[in-house]
Amino acid sequence: MIIYSKRAIKDILDHRFLSVTTIITIAVSVLIAGAVALFLMNANDIMNSWKKGIRVMAYLKPDIPEINIGELKRRIQGMNGVRDVQFISKNEALQRLKSQMKRQPSLLENLKENPLPDAFEIRLAESFQNRDSVEMLAERLNSLVQVEDVEYGQIWLGRFMSIINLFRLTGYAMGGLFFLAAVFIVANTIRLVLYSRREEVEIMRLVGATDGFIKAPFYIEGLIQGVLGGMIGLTALFVIFMLVSLNVEQGLTAGLFSIRFLSPGAFCGILVCSMFVGWLGCYLSLKQFSR
């Protein structure tokens, strides 16, 4: 193993330019893939924190007798996934609106009658805080004759989900492309090293070296390049993250949530992936060379 590693390190040093190119390519790929993973992870966190605040408003038709309200509340409470139901009368709703619009009181001053409907504010159990469950509940609420309209922020929720999905798909596509590019460049580097050492490899074969003995240093070389590329890429990602997170946390998130760096598991996962890129490039190149 020591002999193989020494030969691998010697190869890297002998072909510095090629090795540096390979390591940089892997680093850039890791940086981009890591940035996408980081974005998706934080977007997911935001989604989860928003989901926790998900509530469904069921607006009632006018003039429903007060006696029916209690019965209706019990029916809604009995629906699957409902954690909590609170009745908000039209007067209470107006009071809330007024308190929210303290700075523009004149807007509500001239109202001759309360235009707001009575409503139920419904909160969901944790396991039902997802789009499908919310939509199912909304459908069931809509089917109640006393209910005029149901609102749960479906438009922004849909849009946000679409944007996240778009980013996710773009991330996968970019990750895939950079993965292929990195594998291709590693394979090319190893191929060039092999080409420059073809005579040496031939001599090794003639003196009785096995395929394993000949190939092992190349695999180690690929793995070293993968690890170095991965570590440089992740370090760059961390530095960029620190710079960006300082600005973002002070501005956009306003203390609602904190953005976080990759978990140790994701960090190691990306590092293993970058090693795999090095190994795969080497494998493809050696397979071709063996033929």
């Binding site: 040496e200 090794m204 074969r205 003639l206 003196v207 009785g208 395929d211």
Partner: protein
């Protein structure tokens, strides 16, 4: 070697060659350039495969040997190439040590054995030299050291003195004789008839790919 033919496209390099080499024999393969001497050696160490016929080494049919066993078969041989085939970027020590490293020997053993063999061929003062900085004779001595360091049963030498002056050639031959005495089978391809006469042993003569004559020279 039974009724061996070797073709390179339309060119016939060896035609119906049958040859038996005994254990611990000192055999010369002579003939002019292009007679098929190198091809014959290559067929022995599987540098080439036969077009027709059979080559058996210690009962193993080389046409049927699996790819994985080839390296282990080659370890039975010590090969001295006409053009030395030393790795220019490796030192003398590293070139010779490569054989033992490939065999998976321990570092301490390699160090000891390589130094001992290089002492035998008179190259102990050039351990860290690179082959291009050595003379032809010195390179050939390193090639001999590499060929014998793994204690092979058979040493194949292709024109081992072809590029050397008389003194260097004598040193190389003395070394080969010494390994022969220790029990190795020696097969030497050469066009130098004077050398065969001086050394003695069985000699086969190839001409245009055919085995012409077999003679035994007694010194």
């Amino acid at each position: 070697m039974f009724h061996v033919h070797k073709n390179y496209g339309a060119k016939k390099a060896l035609i119906d060659v049958t040859l038996d080499i005994s254990k611990n024999e000192f055999l010369f393969i002579s003939g002019p350039s292009g007679a098929g001497k190198t091809t014959l050696l290559k067929l022995l160490y599987l540098g080439e495969t036969v077009s027709e016929g059979q080559v058996l080494i210690e009962g193993i049919n080389l046409s049927r040997i699996s790819h994985k066993r080839i390296p282990f078969l080659r370890r039975k041989f010590g090969i001295i190439f006409q053009d030395y085939k030393l790795i220019a970027t490796k030192t003398v020590f590293e070139n010779v040590a490569l054989v033992l490293e490939a065999m998976g020997k321990k570092r301490r053993f390699i160090e000891k054995k390589v130094k001992s063999v290089l002492r035998t061929v008179g190259m102990e003062n050039n351990l860290h030299s690179l082959p291009p900085s050595l003379s032809g004779g010195e390179q050939q001595r390193v090639a001999v050291a590499r060929a014998v360091v793994g204690d092979p049963k058979i040493i194949l030498a292709d024109e081992p003195t072809g590029n050397l002056d008389e003194d260097s050639a004598d040193i190389i031959f003395e070394l080969l004789k010494r390994f022969h005495i220790r029990g190795a089978t020696i097969v030497i391809a050469t066009h130098d008839k004077e050398l065969i006469r001086k050394t003695g042993g069985r000699a086969i003569h190839l001409k245009q790919g055919r085995l012409q004559t077999t003679s035994t020279v007694t010194v």
